[in-house]
């Protein structure tokens, strides 16, 4: 039986368990993604009820070993980023990515920092605009890097030459960018898009569009055939209900 006290944590997802309990997936810097049972968290007078919500910075203590741990206590930890509107749906998207791509118990302290920072930036945006997209792309790139599938963005993988801003490249997901010389036009991107993505400086529409295409395909390889539900919901909201 291991006892771990007062770790920074975010709830990624919670679902009802038995009459008054909650099963949560949490994300922590030192212990990665964890499955926890929060006993009595759904009881009418439980203080945990309002605390164990996604996007609230917490300190958690737990006991147990193996895949399902028991939550001991949780308390608030610092300012709460308030996500509204589209930013809220984007937050769900980040959570879904973490749930799908992180293995339980793999520590990712840097990614935790990124996640925390991303939520705080999301809290500044009410609607989907370039700033919000920039946060999402940056997070996606770091997530891929953390799980060992980082993108090569600094050089042509055939010639070894640095990426030229004015050049045009085809991105081979197995290897990296190769100077485009006609032929297969899938994932053909501007050199400046790759440079901007590497520097987390996605500042115009072309660059954002390139980054989105590249990251979507790179993520799809890791996610497999099952679609991301938060993305589907977002698209339904934007296109549907004519």
């Amino acid at each position: 039986m291991t006892r771990v006290a007062l770790q920074p944590a975010y709830v990624l997802h919670g679902k009802p368990y038995r009459d008054t309990s909650l099963l949560i997936e949490a994300f922590t810097p030192q212990h990665g993604r964890l499955g926890l049972v929060a006993r009595g968290a759904r009881a009418a007078k439980s203080r945990l009820r309002s605390l164990l919500q996604p996007f609230r910075p917490l300190l958690m203590s737990w006991i147990g070993r193996g895949d399902l741990l028991t939550l001991g206590a949780a308390e608030e930890h610092g300012a709460v980023p308030v996500l509204r509107g589209d930013a809220l749906l984007s937050g769900f998207y980040l959570n879904e990515l973490l749930l799908r791509l992180l293995q339980r118990h793999d520590p990712h302290p840097a990614l935790f920092g990124r996640y925390d920072a991303a939520l705080r930036v999301l809290a500044e945006y009410g609607h989907q605009d370039t700033g919000l997209q920039c946060v999402l792309r940056g997070f996606e790139r770091h997530l891929l890097q953390e799980i060992g599938y980082g993108l090569v963005l600094d050089r042509d993988v055939v010639t070894g030459l640095p990426i030229a801003a004015e050049g045009v490249y085809r991105y081979d997901l197995e290897r990296g960018p190769v100077r485009y010389a006609g032929g297969d036009a899938n994932l053909v991107l501007h050199g400046r898009s790759l440079i901007a993505l590497a520097g987390d400086a996605l500042d115009d529409a072309v660059v954002l569009r390139d980054a989105k295409r590249l990251l979507r395909e790179a993520l799809a390889r890791q996610l497999g055939p099952q679609p991301l539900r938060s993305r589907e919901l977002y698209n339904e909201l934007k296109d549907g209900f004519a």
Binding site: Q53, L233, F241
Partner: protein, 198 residues
């Protein structure tokens, strides 16, 4: 060991109630059989009739034994206001407060992107049809103040606004009689964001 006697079956059946474990179920069963046979018959009768006949209101989706529920059929309710809530219990809570005279729409849940609960599961197509009927002038979003409740409210608000209808969200903040010292940080943030001129 499974007890397939009639008593055993009754105990097992009672356990479908929320918060009822084997011990409580046994206590209930013995109480009904030892001390309150008429009560047991009434309970059985009421349960079977309700399970058979209670469906959903065609207009607001709440639980109702008639085509239109009591509130939707009532005269004197304001048809221009539509309050969207997550569950029939929420309708009861708001009705108890007696501050609202409009109609309701009950989602029977909330959007939960990560559990695959989307717009169809919570009847948003039906809500849209209702809005297109042209009677509604304001949609009051009274979903829970959870993250999923907020997402649901945002989602519906977008759809409502696209139709040129007013969408409002109920206020969140410090409870009446509450002391700031004991209010959690998240609630205080909402209370400050939603502050108003006095």
């Amino acid at each position: 060991m499974t007890d397939d006697s009639l008593i055993g079956q009754l105990v097992a059946a009672l356990r479908c109630l929320p918060g009822i474990g084997p011990k409580s179920a046994q206590r209930m069963a013995f109480h009904l059989l030892e001390r309150d046979r008429p009560g047991a018959r009434r309970l059985a009768q009421a349960l079977s009739v309700a399970a058979e006949r209670v469906g959903h209101c065609a207009s607001c989706r709440t639980l109702s034994e008639t085509e239109l529920c009591r509130l939707c059929a009532a005269s004197g309710r304001d048809h221009a206001q539509l309050c969207v809530v997550e569950s029939p219990a929420d309708v009861y809570a708001i009705e108890r407060s007696a501050t609202y005279r409009g109609l309701y729409f009950v989602l029977m849940g909330h959007l939960s992107p990560l559990d695959g609960i989307g717009q169809h599961e919570i009847g948003l197509d039906q809500l849209m049809a209702r809005l297109d009927g042209g009677e509604v002038g304001e949609v009051i979003l009274a979903t829970n103040s959870t993250i999923e409740g907020e997402a649901t409210a945002h989602y519906i608000a977008e759809m409502v606004r696209k139709r040129g209808i007013r969408a409002t969200r109920i206020a969140h903040g410090v409870p009446l009689g509450g002391e700031l010292e004991y209010v959690d940080g998240g609630t205080l943030v909402h209370a400050f964001v939603g502050r108003r001129e006095v």
